[in-house]
């Protein structure tokens, strides 16, 4: 009989939770939601000794009093879902702070297993941790792990399984001093009247959380008849008084515990600090950051190009084979002009996108991302944001959807709103196909500079919009910036590959569903009504295009571009996909000559189209996630309207200027 065990992996940020989670579950992960900086719980399963472990990777949190949206996810999961076992991952080189969360988990009476991770680092500097003593003092099991090398993972699994077989632990008690204890006792008495509630949660723990003003626990009382009494009692004094005091007491408890279990050899200046001296230097910081970015895109193109050639050849061959072997004219057209031409023009760029995601994973895993936030803090502050907002914006180069979700790490609501509204201007991977096609076709050897310019334009629009929003919409100061910087590590290959695969998989899934669907629709509209020339102005799509052409005519766009832009709202790659389908070119590479031959295209128009594609309403996925994360239709429509207006104006300026210059 396989028994299901619910396991949650929790801990401070950057202690190695995701690495442990990956090591525990292998590739058996559900990637329903976006991975990356873990902001939403990620699930996986593992069979071990006849048990099925359902493991959840939670966002990093310093304590159970949540401050930011991602911490709320972690806290609510632990409190509401009541996992059978909580694995807290600790950084062995910084036990004091890590044990703060442990003390809170113990108070709750969770079934706790400690993974003392980064034990390689602790050992290297000569720390000595007495595990048996730690276990007996806290009444938990503790395992030393080196997650990035798989060390201790088997033992951790054994420990999780045996934890479920032992009796549930008695909640740990921390003494808070006379005045606070009196309040706790009084609250415990009131709570004791609701036996239903105290059956689920220890009364003392609830009393402590109530004194700390925990909203989740307060909301648990709403259905109970003792709520009034509790509110009444709490309103009798200012409980904020005690928040800091209680935190201090927890540290006191840890302070008394630590010397008994571990001897630490603090280091003065770590190698990581020496790197930081250079990387965050006042003069070198920004140039180093820019060269890393440049290197990242250079890598994306240099490594991607040979693959592009191969994929192009394959589809060229496939298109030829279809044309030669399929009798029925309409079917050959659907497959050749429609699906193959459309999908090929998008699939061509899969290697680039995988490489881009890999590069972002390397930046994130090495610890550099946090430094970039630090370097940019001053600039971001001037623009009405704070350093931390820079991380989601950087992730926006990959894909806006996980980037917008990553804004959950921002504590302040206004900071978060502004960051969400401007992140889609950061040029995501899906826009790359449009640039490569158009810049490659019309700008030849200058294509690289044109594409770089588009990225810069995106950043500028994002930054200026942030300033605008801060001045007119979300008035006020950015919240004070503080962020822990993880030590630099050699990025784990497995982690980075998994990240790349998870993100790239979602991209492929998009090609397989939304994009095939989109180009098939374009084909149907281009093929019918029966008898008209394929993709001509007389076809259905021609009529549709001409209907909306006036809207973009001032920019010099013709109806084909109008159609491509309309369908591009679904996913921006479709701009290229539908051009491929409309021009009915079998292989992606032959779309270029078709565009060059079309008199309604010119370098100026191509530039305008790229600017428009960069800036106009983000794809459905991004728009939907803005709605979900802001919880409001208003902001979603605002973002869509604002970005389209900006796109229209800037594309017009681009075309006008380009016509003068080119």
């Amino acid at each position: 009989m396989a028994e299901k065990i619910k396991v949650a992996v929790a801990g401070n940020p950057n202690v190695g939770k995701t690495t442990i989670f990956n090591a525990l579950t292998g590739a058996r992960q559900k990637i329903g939601n976006w991975p990356g900086v873990t902001v939403e719980k990620k699930e996986g399963t593992k069979k071990h000794k006849g048990h099925v472990l359902e493991i959840v990777d939670l966002p990093g949190t310093y304590s159970l009093s949540a401050y930011s949206a991602d911490e709320v996810v972690a806290r609510d999961y632990i409190i509401d879902e009541k996992p059978d076992v909580v694995v807290q991952v600790l950084d062995s080189t910084n036990l004091e702070r890590n044990l703060y969360l442990t003390s809170q988990l113990l108070e709750m009476g969770t079934n706790l297993v400690l993974a003392l991770n980064m034990s390689d680092r602790a050992e290297m500097r000569g720390d000595d941790i007495d595990i048996p003593r730690l276990e007996s003092l806290l009444g938990v099991s503790a395992i030393k792990t080196v997650a990035n090398e798989g060390g201790g993972i088997e033992a951790l699994l054994d420990s999780i399984v045996s934890k479920t077989e032992s009796n549930p632990p008695k909640p740990h008690e921390i003494g808070y001093g006379k005045t606070v204890e009196e309040k706790i006792c009084a609250l415990e008495d009131i709570l004791g009247n609701d036996t239903e509630l105290t059956k689920h949660y220890p009364a003392r723990w609830m009393a402590v959380k109530l004194l700390e003003g925990d909203e989740n626990v307060l909301s648990k009382l709403s259905s109970s008849n003792i709520e009034g009494k509790v509110q009444n009692y709490l309103s009798g004094f200012d409980n904020e008084e005690y928040e800091v005091e209680m935190a201090d007491k927890r540290y006191e408890f840890i302070g008394a515990l630590l010397p008994q279990v571990c001897t630490t050899c603090a280091e003065d200046v770590s190698p990581s600090d020496m790197v930081d001296k250079v990387v965050t230097n006042k003069y070198l910081g920004i140039p180093i950051f820019l060269s890393l970015m440049w290197g990242m895109f250079e890598l994306t193109f240099a490594l991607g190009t040979p693959f592009m050639g191969l994929i192009g050849k394959f589809f060229g061959w496939l298109g030829g084979a279809v044309a030669a072997n399929i009798e029925s004219a309409w079917l050959a057209s659907l497959l050749g002009d429609g699906i193959i031409a459309g999908v090929c023009s998008v699939l061509l760029f899969v290697p680039n996108i995988f490489i881009l995601f890999f590069a972002i994973a390397l930046l994130e895993n090495s610890g550099y991302m946090a430094r970039a936030a630090f370097i940019m803090d001053k600039l971001m502050y001037k623009m009405g944001l704070q350093g931390k907002s820079f991380i989601p914006m950087l992730m926006g180069f990959g894909c806006s959807v996980p980037a917008i979700m990553a804004t959950r790490t921002l504590e302040d609501e206004k900071d978060r709103l502004i960051t969400m509204l401007v992140t889609p201007f950061m040029s995501c991977g899906a826009r790359l196909p449009v640039y490569i096609l158009l810049a490659g076709t019309f700008f030849g050897r200058e294509a690289g500079s044109v594409i770089f310019g588009l990225y810069v334009l995106g950043i500028l629009v994002a930054i200026l919009s942030a300033k605008l929003f801060r001045t007119f919409i979300a008035k006020g100061q950015p919240s004070p910036f503080i962020m822990e910087l993880p030590p630099y590590t050699r990025p784990s290959l497995v982690n980075s590959l998994l990240y790349m695969w998870n993100q790239g998989y979602l991209y492929l899934k998009k090609v397989g569903t939304v994009i095939i669907g989109g180009v098939m629709l374009v084909w149907v509209l281009a093929y019918f009504p029966q008898g008209v020339e394929y993709g001509s102005a007389e076809s259905l799509i021609g009529s549709l295009g001409q209907l909306i052409e006036p809207l973009v005519a001032p920019l010099g766009f013709d109806w084909k571009i109008a159609v491509a832009l309309i369908f591009g709202v679904v996913a921006k790659e479709i701009v290229v996909g539908s051009l491929g389908t409309l021009y009915g070119t079998g292989g992606g590479e032959s779309l270029s000559p078709a565009l060059l031959a079309d008199p309604s295209f010119s370098p100026a128009i191509a530039l305008g189209l790229m600017v428009f594609t960069l800036l106009y309403v983000p794809c459905f996925g991004a728009v939907a996630v803005i709605k979900k994360e802001t919880g409001s239709w208003k902001w979603m429509f605002f973002q869509a309207a604002y970005s389209t207006a900006v796109a229209w104006v800037l594309a017009l300026v681009t075309v006008l200027v380009a016509n003068l210059v080119l």
Binding site: S65, Y100, N281, F374, I375, D377, K378
Partner: protein, 84 residues
């Protein structure tokens, strides 16, 4: 008498000690939970256009200027000065 001044005004390059945080209770507790406990020693590591890089209790933190204004510090004395 010890002189308490904001971290942002403290002469750069010198170690100092946290004595207080001038902020709402929420932020105050947040800092404690992040490991910036009262009386901890702050080692400055670097400065970039007003943002600070510090080491406290073995962890590294990046602080914006606004945050550095809220953290009150005093110099660290090698031996506790004796009065009276």
């Amino acid at each position: 008498m010890t002189s308490k001044i904001p971290l942002s005004m403290f002469p750069s390059g010198q170690a100092c000690q946290i004595c207080d945080v001038c902020a709402g209770k929420g932020l105050k507790r947040r800092l404690v939970e992040m490991g910036l406990t009262p009386e901890s020693i702050i080692q400055p590591l670097g400065c970039n256009r007003g943002s600070l890089l510090i080491s406290v209790n073995g962890s590294r933190y990046a602080l914006g200027r606004g945050m550095a204004n809220k953290i009150m510090v005093q110099p660290v004395y090698e031996e506790v000065p004796q009065f009276g």
